[in-house]
């Protein structure tokens, strides 16, 4: 008897852990292929466009609710006509209804009311300052007044973001986005994104464009033999490869990529017909022109007036200086990093994606953040001056 019990217990110890497996095998409950994200992450206006499609469908079908919110259909026939808000909404200072506003004139959302569901206007739309909006859709120009907050997304033909706005979600436009100073953002996407050139104070004035003066020295081409010892130039792939920190003097030009396994710094007004990569920090001197992409494991600092045709990508932070241009009309690019700071006067064609924090700075901030490119402790200097 004892032996049988012992055997039973022993077998139980072995079998019990297998019971869930046997059950899942015989009666599958989790057997579908892992779902694959098809496009959302690669399509910044996805949320706005999906909302527009759902709303169109709901309106055509006469639905009264969408996504758990009641739909308030409004036809406004005059500019500045007020929204028919309920007394309870006015008293609470918030509306949880989804507003679908038809009309040809611009819509001005009222003061004192937060919109906790989407607001859709067929024409232009102006938010009120200091207020909170879940999402904003405009068939024309969307103007986000100063100090307002957008939680999920805002979309329009054009979008103007006022000073001090907090944009927790995506802001996308069919044509242009204009962003004032002091704005926190996450994702901006449009064929053209401009950062306001002037703030409210004299210290916010953008410095003049950093371009070579007629008397400044001409560019010097870097020949393959000009790279210092320790930098390997591979003519087959047109790539300079440096294992330690590297500085390139101002006003140098070269054709090819530069890959540096440490910090990389370019002096002012360099021209690179290729891409740059640094595993450490990467500093591009003011007025430089990079025809390729810029990638860094550390932070990237673009000096004032830099032009980058390709994308700019850092695993830590990017500081875009005043008057910089990334991408070109018709040639989109992405600026992405966990932390991004953009100075006034910059223009980006494409997407700016700050994974943690993005903000627009003042010109004064940008100037104070700019490190001296000679402070990066290189072990090799290209150009002959240490």
């Amino acid at each position: 008897m004892m032996l049988a019990l012992l055997v039973l217990l022993t077998v139980s110890v072995l079998v019990v852990p297998l019971l869930p497996a046997l059950r899942e095998w015989r009666r599958p409950s989790d057997v579908v292929p892992l779902p694959i994200d098809e496009a959302d992450a690669l399509d910044p206006p996805y949320l706005a466009q999906r909302f527009a499609a759902l709303l169109r469908q709901a309106v055509q079908g006469g639905a009264t609710h969408l996504g758990g919110s009641g739909i308030a259909h409004v036809a406004l026939h005059a500019e500045n006509a007020g929204l028919p808000l309920l007394a309870a909404e006015l008293a609470a200072g918030r509306t949880d209804r989804l507003w679908h506003i038809e009309g040809e004139g611009d819509v001005h959302l009222p003061e004192g009311i937060g919109f906790y569901a989407e607001v859709s206007a067929s024409a232009g739309l102006h938010t009120a300052a200091h207020h909170l909006y879940r999402a904003v859709w405009s068939g024309g120009r969307a103007t986000l007044a100063p100090l307002c907050t957008v939680l999920r997304w805002a979309h329009g033909q054009e979008v103007h973001v006022g000073t001090g706005c907090h944009l927790a979600g995506r802001v996308t436009a069919e044509k242009t986005i204009t962003v004032a100073q002091g704005v926190d953002f996450m994702l901006l996407h449009a064929p053209r994104i401009d950062f306001a050139e002037q703030g409210d104070s004299p210290t916010d004035r953008v410095p003049p464009p950093s371009s070579p003066s007629p008397s400044s020295p001409a560019l010097t081409d870097l020949a393959p033999t000009d790279w210092p010892a320790g930098v390997v130039w591979n003519p087959q792939v047109r790539r300079a490869f440096a294992r330690s920190a590297l500085q390139i003097e101002a006003r140098r030009a070269w054709h090819g990529d530069v890959v540096c396994l440490a910090d990389l710094a370019l002096g002012g007004h360099c021209q690179a017909d290729g891409s740059l990569k640094a595993r450490g920090d990467l500093h591009v001197g003011a007025g430089s022109h990079i025809r390729g992409n810029i990638v860094a494991g550390g932070s990237i600092h673009l000096g004032a007036g830099c032009v980058v045709r390709g994308s700019v990508l850092s695993e830590t932070a990017i500081v875009v200086g005043p008057g910089c241009t990334v991408g070109a009309p018709g040639t989109l690019a992405t600026v992405t990093a966990p932390h991004i700071a953009i100075a006034p006067g910059a223009t980006v064609y494409g997407t700016i994606w700050a994974e943690e924090t993005g903000q627009t700075t003042t010109a004064a901030d940008a100037a104070s953040d700019e490190p001296s490119w000679t402070d990066l402790s290189p072990s090799a200097v290209v150009g002959g001056v240490a």
Partner: protein, 489 residues
């Protein structure tokens, strides 16, 4: 290629090994006058006894190293900083790319792959799709040509009718025909998703990147128990193993499919080698030694078809094992000597290369344990301590790889499939046996005259979505003649 299952397999085998070794270790026979407090006794003498102990110690050290590696990877994925540096590139001046679809007798699956590629969101004018029809003897050519006719100008087929067999040889010939700076390679049973090409191309904006690897996701999960186990294994291998190596700056592996290659990088390291069985592993290491980075992109996911019966699975893993071990012989010396790589890169690269050798080493360990059991008695510590050590090893070391699977399932938010984890032992034992067998073949059988390496194509289970007759009908139209590049090397 996923060496992940192999590392899991030998871990399990070592557990059983320890079960045998512990009684030997705990057999107390105190011998007076021994050095360092250790007492050994054997009828074959002290040299014999110490040799066995030394070899067993080596096996155990290897086990510990690989176990630690798995734990580090799992913990990194759970709690460490995650690196997806190229995942946010959504707007760009996308470069031209050629997409190879490697096909050898793929009449059942090639159409789905090509049609999926027609639906991707990459700019059509910057994407050349080239099915590499490698000496197929079935209706692969007809089906490809029918798809070409339906999408005029979008697909440039390469019908290879002769030449050296093998995927690497076919890709080598196909690469000579293209004029783009990048290629992406798919196997014919893969079903690319809409955003996949852009995800795979994004890392190439980094001029240091020579190759990109995406994540492989089984599609026929529900076929049977084997496919469900392989689904778990793939999750662990990609979601944890590859991504952790990416996070830690180690050596992600280009896997031969769902991956991209920079042509200039490929050429700078000698192009395709058509005398290798695992062109992917071979290329990963040549790029690494040539100063190029291989990147793993966990969000570049693509469906594949996994084997549905054990025989096919064993043949597949034997082929991988032979190719991987071939790369081990070719590259380990250069890897370990390369001063340009960091120590951690060299060590991890070597461990990755050696992963398929662990099965035969463990079989050797089994033999050692038997010999120790019968011929050596020793006293190291009190038997109770040995028991504790064994328990700790079984509970922690043995299950390190399974911990990776559990981590992956958690990250994938799959709730119930983790229950099948207990069955994965079965699959890992099969893998261990298959690999050991392949190593023996490689060492003995394949060296015989006239043998050499044999490319064993993986069986497909999916049947063609459109009957071949329909494909033939489509070809009878006026647009039936595609611009086909034929090559007779």
């Amino acid at each position: 290629m996923t060496p992940f299952s192999i590392t899991c397999a030998w871990r399990f085998v070592v557990g059983a090994l320890a079960l045998w070794a512990v009684p030997a270790l705990s057999g107390v026979q105190t011998e007076p006058g021994t050095a360092l407090g250790y007492a050994l006794a054997s009828p074959f003498g002290a040299v014999w006894a110490w040799s066995l102990v030394g070899l067993m110690g080596l096996v155990m050290v290897l086990l510990t190293v690989y176990t630690l590696r798995h734990y580090v990877f799992s913990l990194n994925r759970l709690f460490g900083k995650q690196r997806h540096p190229y995942a946010s590139i959504v707007s760009a001046d996308w470069p031209r790319v050629t997409i190879f679809v490697a096909a050898h007798n793929e009449e059942d699956v090639i159409q789905d792959c090509l049609e999926n590629l027609m639906r991707v969101d990459y700019p059509a004018d910057r994407m050349v799709i080239m099915p590499v029809n490698d000496r197929s003897s079935d209706r692969t050519r007809e089906i490809i040509d029918a798809v070409v006719a339906r999408f005029p100008g979008r697909i440039t087929p390469f019908h290879r009718v002769s030449g050296k067999p093998g995927k690497a040889a076919a890709l080598k010939d196909a690469t000579a025909l293209i004029d783009t700076d990048f290629i992406i390679v798919f196997d014919a049973d893969y079903m690319p998703s809409r955003g996949l090409i852009r995800r795979l191309m994004a890392p190439f904006f980094d001029p240091e990147v020579g190759a990109v690897m995406g994540r492989v996701v089984p599609h026929n999960v529900g076929a049977n128990l084997l496919t469900r186990l392989l689904d778990l294994e793939r999750s662990g291998g990609y979601q944890v193993d590859q991504q952790a190596r990416m996070n830690l700056g180690l050596v992600p592996q280009y896997g031969g499919t769902v991956g991209g290659i920079r042509i200039s990088a490929l050429e700078s390291v000698g192009g395709w080698h058509d005398d290798v069985l695992a062109e992917d592993t071979d290329l990963t290491y040549r790029l690494l030694l040539g100063g190029w980075l291989t990147v793993y992109h966990n969000r570049a996911e693509c469906y594949e078809e996994v084997p549905q019966n054990w025989g096919v699975r064993m043949r597949q893993i034997k082929r991988w094992s032979k190719g991987h071990n071939q790369a081990l012989v070719r590259h380990s010396g250069a890897l370990l000597r390369n001063p340009a790589l960091s120590l951690i890169e060299r060590v991890d690269g070597f461990l990755l290369l050696g992963v398929y050798m662990m099965s035969p080493i463990l079989l050797f360990g089994w033999v050692l344990s038997l010999l120790m059991y019968f011929t050596v008695s020793m006293q190291v510590l009190a038997p109770a301590l040995l028991l504790i050590a064994f328990m700790a090893h079984s509970a922690l070391g043995n299950f390190a790889a399974f911990f990776e699977i559990a981590t992956a399932v958690h990250l994938d938010r799959s709730r119930q499939r983790i229950h099948l984890l207990a069955f994965t032992f079965m699959g890992f034992i099969v893998s261990a046996v298959a690999i050991a067998q392949s190593v023996l073949e490689q060492l003995l059988w394949d060296r015989l005259p006239g043998k050499g390496f044999h490319w064993d194509k993986t069986v497909r289970y999916r049947r063609a979505a459109v009957p071949v007759a329909a494909a033939s009908t489509a070809m009878s139209g006026s647009a039936r003649t595609p611009v086909a590049a034929e090559m007779h090397p």
